[in-house]
C-alpha cells in the first residue's frame, strides 16, 4: 500500500506523550461506593490504554493475553444467582462490550468518522418453561440483579399463555474457556491517518480512470468482547473482530450510469492485516475500469443461458436459497410472521430424502472456518459448535440448531446413530438483544477435480459469467429468487466476448441446484459474506460467510431488467 504522509505538526501531535485516560474500571470502582453496591468493572471491558487515539501510523501492538476478568466473572455469577433467587430453573448472562469504527469517504473528502463503544448486560431466564429476557447498561450488582429479576418477572407473566414447556438439549459446561478470532492486527489500534490515507489513495487511483465521476469508499470494523456464563457452569470469554472495506466506482457518460461495487472486497472475521492484503489502491483502477467499460455494455437478450457464477456472486445465492431454508426455527414456523418459513418442511418428510442437487453437491454448516464471519469458539447458548453436513451427496441431511431446537430432531439423530446435540447456532447481535438461532457459515464444498474459473468458462458454449453481488430478492419460503450481479460477461464458445448489462436470473431453488453440473476445485474456493443478515423480531443483524468454488448451472432463465422512464 501507499504510505500516507503526515505533516510535521501532525507527527508532533501523534508522538506527544499523552496521559492515559482513566479507565471505566476506575470509575465504576469509585461510583460503586455511592451506589452502595458491588462495583466491579470488567477488566476486559475497560477502555484499553492502547486505544486508537494514541496509535502512531504503522505501529501495531501484539494482542494482549485473553482471560475472563475476575470482576466480570463475579458480576455474571451475581446475575445468575439473582435469576435463581427469582425462580429461574435455568439462566444465562452475557456482559459484552461492542465497538464499531467506521470511516467513509467520497472522492478526496472524508464524509464520516464514527467510533462507537457500548457495553451492558443481558440476562435470559427460564421460569416454569417460559423464556424471559432483560438487558441493562448498569454494570453493577444492583443493575444486573434488577435485570435478572425483570427477566424472571416477564417469564412469569407469560406463563398464562404457555402451551408447551421450553426444554434445552444438554450441553457440556465450559467453566474456564476463551477464544479469539483469527486477527493479528487489531483495527482499533490502527491510527485514523492510516485508515483515511488508504481510502483516499485508492479513491485517487480510481478517479484517474476515464468517465469515473464518483468514488465512495469506507472501512467498517467491529470488535466484540463477549463474556458469557450460564447455570450449567460455563464461563466463557471471547474476543471477536471483523473488518470490511468497501469501494464503489460510478461511471457517467452520455446519459448512462454504471456502478461497480460497493462490495468489491469480501468482509472477513479478521483484522487490519486483511484490509492491507486486499490492496485496494492497486485494485482501484481495475474496479473503476470495469465500471467505465459497463457504460457501453450490451443489454442482455432474454432467454436461457448456462450461468458461471463467481464465489463473490454465488455466496449470496447459497445464503438465500440454502442457508435460510435450513434454519430450523424457520422450518418450524418460528419466523412465520417476519422472515418467513421454509419449503424444506416438515423435517420428517424431507430429511434424508429431499434431493437438492446432484451427488457432487455437499453443503457444510460450521463455525470453524478460519477468517469466516460466523466463526466462533462458543455460541450464545454456551455450546462449542460442530461442523455438520446440511446437504450430503445432494440430499438434505440436517438443519441449523440451538439448544432449544435440537431436541426436535432427536428421532433423526438416533436413526443415524448420532448423539443428539445443538450445532451451536445461537447468536445475539449485542448484549441488548436476546439470542436465537442464526446462520453459521454455510459453505458449498469444492469439487474433486481442481477446476478453475477459467476452466468453467472454457467449457461453456453459450453462457453468462457473473461476478459480485448486486440486486437480490427471494420469497418467504425460499423457492423463487431473482439475482443480479455487479459484472456480467457474455461467454461464447469458451471465451468471454464482452460485458452485458440489465442481467438478472430467476430461479426456483430445487430446480436451480439440480441444474448444477460443474464445481470449481479447492484452489478456486473463496469466501463471500455480509455483516448484515437480518432476521427476528426485533430484527437483529448477523455476520456470516459462505465458502464456495465457482459453479456452472445449466439452462437458467435470464430476464432483462432495463426500462426507460
Amino acid at each position: 500500500m501507499r504510505v500516507f504522509s503526515i505533516s510535521g505538526a501532525l507527527r508532533a501531535f501523534l508522538f506527544r506523550p499523552t496521559p492515559p485516560m482513566p479507565s471505566r474500571r476506575d470509575f465504576l470502582k469509585a461510583g460503586g461506593v455511592s451506589l452502595g453496591a458491588l462495583a466491579v468493572a470488567p477488566e476486559l471491558l475497560r477502555a484499553a490504554p492502547g486505544s486508537p487515539l494514541l496509535a502512531a501510523p504503522g505501529a501495531f501492538r501484539p494482542l494482549p493475553p485473553l482471560y475472563t476478568d475476575p470482576a466480570t466473572r463475579e458480576l455474571m455469577l451475581e446475575a445468575l444467582d439473582a435469576a435463581k433467587r427469582a425462580g429461574a430453573s435455568w439462566a444465562d448472562v452475557r456482559i459484552s462490550r461492542n465497538r464499531n469504527n467506521s470511516v467513509n469517504t467520497r472522492e478526496q473528502q472524508v464524509t464520516n468518522v464514527v467510533e462507537s463503544d457500548t457495553m451492558g448486560c443481558g440476562v435470559r431466564v427460564l421460569v416454569d418453561g417460559c423464556w424471559g429476557f432483560a438487558a441493562t447498561q448498569e454494570l453493577t450488582s444492583a443493575g444486573v440483579g434488577m435485570a435478572a429479576q425483570e427477566a424472571a418477572a416477564i417469564a412469569k407473566a407469560n406463563r398464562v399463555a404457555r402451551d408447551r414447556r421450553i426444554e434445552l438439549a444438554p450441553a457440556p459446561a465450559h467453566p474456564d474457556a476463551t477464544w479469539r478470532s483469527a486477527y493479528t492486527i487489531d483495527p482499533f489500534t490502527v491510527s485514523l491517518e492510516d485508515k483515511v490515507g488508504l481510502l483516499l489513495a485508492a479513491n485517487a487511483e480510481a478517479q484517474k480512470v476515464a468517465n469515473i465521476r464518483f468514488v465512495n469508499s469506507g472501512l467498517s470494523f467491529v470488535k466484540e468482547e463477549r463474556n458469557y456464563a450460564n447455570t450449567d457452569g460455563s464461563v466463557i470469554t471471547q474476543d471477536y473482530v471483523r473488518s470490511w472495506v468497501t469501494m464503489s466506482c460510478t461511471a457517467v457518460a452520455n446519459g448512462e450510469v454504471a456502478v461497480r461495487g460497493p462490495e468489491v472486497v469480501q468482509p472477513a472475521g479478521r483484522g487490519w492485516e486483511y484490509v492491507l492484503e486486499a490492496d485496494i489502491t492497486a485494485n482501484a483502477p481495475k474496479w473503476a475500469g470495469e465500471a467505465a467499460e459497463k457504460l457501453t455494455a450490451k443489454s442482455v437478450d432474454v432467454g436461457r443461458y448456462d450461468l458461471i457464477l463467481h464465489p463473490s456472486q454465488l455466496f449470496l445465492t447459497i445464503h438465500e436459497s440454502l442457508g435460510h431454508p435450513t434454519e430450523l426455527d424457520r422450518v418450524m414456523g418460528y419466523e412465520a410472521n417476519y422472515a418467513g418459513t421454509s419449503f424444506m418442511a416438515p423435517p420428517e418428510k424431507v430429511l434424508g430424502s429431499l434431493k437438492l442437487g446432484p451427488p457432487m453437491m455437499n453443503l457444510i454448516g460450521n463455525r470453524s472456518e478460519v477468517g469466516a464471519l460466523a466463526t466462533i469458539g462458543y455460541d450464545d447458548d454456551g455450546v462449542m459448535p460442530d461442523d455438520f453436513h446440511i446437504i450430503k451427496d445432494g440430499i438434505l441431511n440436517d438443519f441449523q440448531t440451538t439448544r432449544e431446537q435440537a431436541p426436535l430432531l432427536n428421532w433423526w439423530y438416533e436413526k443415524n446413530g448420532q448423539q443428539p446435540r445443538s450445532h451451536g447456532c445461537s447468536y445475539a447481535q449485542s448484549w441488548a438483544d436476546v439470542q436465537f438461532q442464526r446462520m453459521p457459515n454455510v459453505s458449498l464444498q469444492p469439487g474433486e477435480e481442481d477446476l478453475s474459473w477459467d476452466d468453467l468458462i472454457a467449457a461453456t458454449d453459450r453462457g453468462i459469467a457473473m461476478i459480485g453481488r448486486s440486486s437480490y430478492s427471494i420469497d418467504q419460503q425460499r423457492y423463487n429468487a431473482q439475482f443480479g450481479a455487479q459484472l456480467c460477461y457474455e461467454v461464447r464458445n469458451g471465451k468471454i466476448v464482452g460485458q452485458l448489462k440489465d442481467v438478472a436470473y430467476q430461479m426456483r431453488t430445487p430446480d436451480f441446484w439440480n441444474s448444477l453440473d460443474m464445481l470449481g476445485g479447492k484452489s478456486s474456493y473463496e469466501f463471500g459474506g455480509t455483516f448484515n443478515d437480518g432476521k427476528g423480531q426485533p430484527s437483529q443483524a448477523n455476520a456470516v460467510s459462505h465458502g464456495c468454488p465457482p459453479v456452472r448451472i445449466k439452462n437458467i432463465n435470464v430476464i432483462n431488467t432495463g426500462r426507460s422512464l
Binding site: V114, V257, D502, A504, N557
Partner: protein
Amino acid sequence: MHARLNNAMAANGVLGEADAQSVVERAVRLSKADAVNISVQSGRETNLRFADNQLSTAGATTNTTIRVESVFGQRRASVVTNDRTDEGLRRAVEQSEVIAKLAPEDPEYLGPLGAQTYTPIPAWFDSTAELSADARAQAALTALTKARAANDLTVAGYIVCNASASALGNNAGLFAYHRSTNANYTLTARTNDGTGSGWAAAEDNDWTQIDFEAVARDAIDKARRSANPVAIEPGRYTVIFEPEATANLVSVMRGALQARSADEGRSAFSKPGGGTKVGEKILDERVTISSNPRDPLVLAAPFDGDGLPVQEETWIRNGVLEQLSYSRYWAQRQGKPVTTGGNSLRMEGGSESVASMIANTERGIVVTRLWYLRAVDNRTLVYTGLTRDGTFLVENGKIARSIKNFRFNDSPLFMLNNLEAVGPAVRTAGGGSLVMPAIKVRDFNFTSLSDAV
C-alpha cells in the same frame, strides 16, 4: 453528580427533558473544540413473540446512548458511548476531540446550527410506555386462544412497544428534545395444511388504540380464504393494492427525493442531459405525496437528525414533482432553502373502498402486502419483490379464488401513472411512519410465479 444520574432515570428508563438537557450541557462544558454537537438517544423497548401457537421470546431492553461530535475548523469526528457517567462523558468528549483533530478537513461542514424554534408534538402515551408484561401476554392470548381452539390454524405474532427520547444540542445555542411512544402488532395466521397464510397488523403511538381482536380476526379470515391457491399465468394485470402493499412500493421513492443525487445525475428524478424533473408532471394527477410530522395518523418528531425543524413539505402535488429535499450543505451550494421532510410519508387518499374497487373490476388481482423488495435499477426505480400472505383473483366484480404468489419487476413511477382508483389513506404497520391508501392500478408487471405460501 451520581445522585443526579440516578434521578435522571425515570421508572421507564427514558430521560426527561431536564435530564437530557443536563447531559448536553455537561458535554458542552467539557468540550475544548470549536464546536461540539451532542445527541442523546434514550429508550426502553418491551416485546413479546409467539409462533407455532405458543410463546417464544419476550424481553425488555433499556439503554441510553450519547453521541459526541467534536469539530475543529472543518475537521470533525464522532464518538458514541452508553456510559452516562461524568467520567464516561468526559472520555467520549476527549476521544472525539483527538480523532477530530486527525481527520482531514470536510469541505462540506457548515458550522454548528444555532438555536431553532420547534412546535412540540404530543407523541408520548403513558399507556405504551408503562405497559406491563401481563398486558402483553393477555394481548397475545387474543390470537393464541382463537388458533388453539380452531385446530386448523397456527399463528405467529409480535408485539413491540417503544418509549424513547431524543435530544440534540451544541455550543451554539441549539437544544431540541422530543419524546415519543410507539406500539406495533403484527400477526400471521397459517392454515395447518400449509396452503394458506394471512397477515394483519396495527400500529399507533397509543397502545390503547391497537385493536387486537380485529387484527386476529383479519389475519385468520385471510389465512382461511387464501388456502388452496391456484397458479395463474404471470403477466400484466390490473392490481388492487391494500394500503400495506401500496406503502411497500411508494416508500422506495423516498431516497430519490434527495436533491443532491438528482442534481448529480444519478437518480430517477435527474433529467437526461442535466438538471432535474422538478416542475414536470411525472405521475397521475391524483397523486400527492408529502411529509408532515404533525400528521394526526403518525405523530413524528418536530426536528431531524441535524436539529432542523421539520415542516410539512409536499414533494409531489397532483402528479407534478414540486420539490426535492435539500440538506444544509446542498441547499447552500445550490442557493436553495433547506427542506427536510423528516421520517413520515403520506400519499393522499381518495374515497373508493377496496370493496368498491373489487366490484368495479372485471379481472384483476388483490395484493395484501409485498416482500423482499430490492432495487433492480436506480435510474427507473424498478424494484423486484413478491406478493405475500393473501393474494386473490378478482373476476366479474368478485373475489373468485386464492392464487399463488407472484414476483414482480416494476416501478412506483410506472405504477402511479397507471392509476385507476384511490382509497382512504390509513396508517400502515410495516414500519416507516407511512400513511397510504389502497390503490387500483392497471398493467402491473408480474414476471414469475412463486410456490411460497
